[in-house]
Amino acid sequence: MNKKWVKYLVLIVVAGLLTYNSVYFKKLDTKKAPVQTNMEPAQFAKSFWKDKFTSYLDSAVDINSFSKMLKDDPNAAFTKYAKTQGIGNTSCFLLKGEGQIMEVKDDHVMVKVNSGATETKVKLNTGLYFGNAVRDVTGLIKMGDFGNTIDYNSVSSELNKIVQAEVISPFKAKAKKGDTISFTGCAEINKDEVNTDNIELLPVKISLNK
């Protein structure tokens, strides 16, 4: 009698183990649909600009010391300051400086930067901008954060619109030759084509000192 009970008990345990390991319960949603994001690029860009980007501007590198390092040892400048998305030769740099406006054109403003004995000229891009420097310069936004590259690229485009509306347009309306300004901007530099004589920046913060 006892033996029979042990036999049944073992069979029940084995059957239970089999059933437990053979049947899985999962939500139908997770089986059926891929993981999708319902993100709003415009909203994401707005929040990023307000909550993260503007506070990140304090970490900008002085354009004179950067320019000198880029001339003397480009590899060191890239290693220390570059923000690069994925694999590629082009990197972004966040730079700041002060100087006097030498020339105002439709799509750019030339600035002579105060740099002691040497004269550094910087071109501030005030025309249409289509690149990804604003999105990429902090290194805080990664492609892997997005469900697809379309959202990732839309965020870049939305950030460019914010820069155009909040920084470039008000500056263009007031900028005059001879004004002194403080600026922070993003530079995109190709490692294979470093041009230290002409640094071009997309301004992301400008104040007129007069």
Partner: protein, 317 residues
């Protein structure tokens, strides 16, 4: 005695099933050193190069390889995955046919414990592919578009040949291009049509576009195969000197055409980097690494007659 023997046999059988069930749902089984390379099509030299480079790198790392051609068809791709998953492959180096349509295949592989490494094209899902090494088509097209605007002197009528409509690269290249060109009101789009990234279709579509829009002065094509087809149609119509053709990919014949002043520009993608990186990642996975960046963009560079000498087909010299 007979009863005990029968009981023992039954018990042994049940234990075997139970062990099997536990094993499948539990720890990953080490697979053979075999990598499957699945590409959307082998009817385009760019993808042939991608597949062969991935296979060569995997072989150099000590793996057997097999290349599968999906023929731009997700059903064919799905059959390949079924075969791969029963074929004891340790990884899949994957060039998806469709950003949405290929998701189910990657999910099947993940569920079976086979890591998938996407090359060039992405799938619209997070957390399924182990890593996706993707060409940054949007930024590349922005660069081409800036050059397009300059070459067209900011005015004129143009047409656009699109790639496969389900592929995110098609959309990324087109939106990148239009994010620039649409800011110039004197540049008018006359027509936009898919030619499926195919050279012959590119020629056919261009022929019919030329009949409807004989006054165009520019063509933007989502890849070099279509650009070469479009150029052929322009030669036949005697318009190759008046219509500027822009491609995308950095294929061998496109680079040669830029040198000969036939095509105006292309965007150099780096299939060698993407294919080799995917094989290296799969090797690292086999050896135990698990923390991979989920998506990695690979930069695209503008190639024109000014800098073409620095480039060769599919990469830099």
């Amino acid at each position: 005695m007979k009863k005990i023997t029968r009981f023992s046999f039954l018990l042994a059988l049940c234990s075997l099933f139970a062990f099997n069930a536990c094993n499948n749902g539990g720890k990953e089984k080490q697979k053979s050193k075999k990598m499957a390379i699945v590409v959307s099509t082998l009817n385009n030299p760019w993808f042939v190069f991608l597949a062969k480079t991935a296979a060569a790198k995997a072989k150099a790392l000590g793996y057997e390889t097999k290349i599968f051609d999906s023929q731009n068809n997700t059903a064919v791709e799905s059959d390949h995955f079924e075969n791969i998953l029963v074929g004891d492959y340790c990884a899949i180096l994957f060039n998806p046919t469709d950003a949405d349509g290929s998701v189910a295949n990657v999910k099947k592989a993940k569920d079976a414990g086979v890591p998938v490494f996407c090359m060039d094209r992405e799938i619209n899902a997070k957390g399924l592919a182990t890593s996706q090494i993707l060409s940054d088509g949007y930024s590349g097209s922005v660069e081409i578009a800036k050059y397009f605007v300059e070459q067209m002197n900011k005015k004129g009528a143009y047409v656009e040949l699109l790639g496969i409509t389900g592929d995110n690269n098609t959309r990324a290249r087109s939106t990148g291009f239009h994010s620039v060109v649409d800011n110039y009101p004197d540049l008018k789009t006359c027509a936009q049509q898919s030619a499926d990234f195919d050279r012959n279709k590119g020629m056919e579509v261009m022929e019919s576009m030329l009949q409807a829009h004989p006054d165009i002065t520019g063509v933007f094509c989502g890849n070099d195969a279509m650009a070469m087809g479009a150029y052929q149609a322009l030669v036949s119509a005697g318009k190759d000197k008046t219509v500027k053709v822009f491609g995308f990919d950095g294929a061998e014949d496109a680079i040669k055409s830029i040198k000969e002043n036939k095509l105006v520009a292309t965007g150099m993608q780096f299939p060698k980097i993407m294919a080799e990186k995917a094989a290296e990642f799969a090797d690292a996975y086999y050896k135990g690494k698990r923390d991979f960046e989920e998506k990695i963009p690979v930069g695209v560079e503008l190639v024109t007659v000014k800098n073409v000498d620095k480039y060769m087909g599919y990469g830099k010299k």
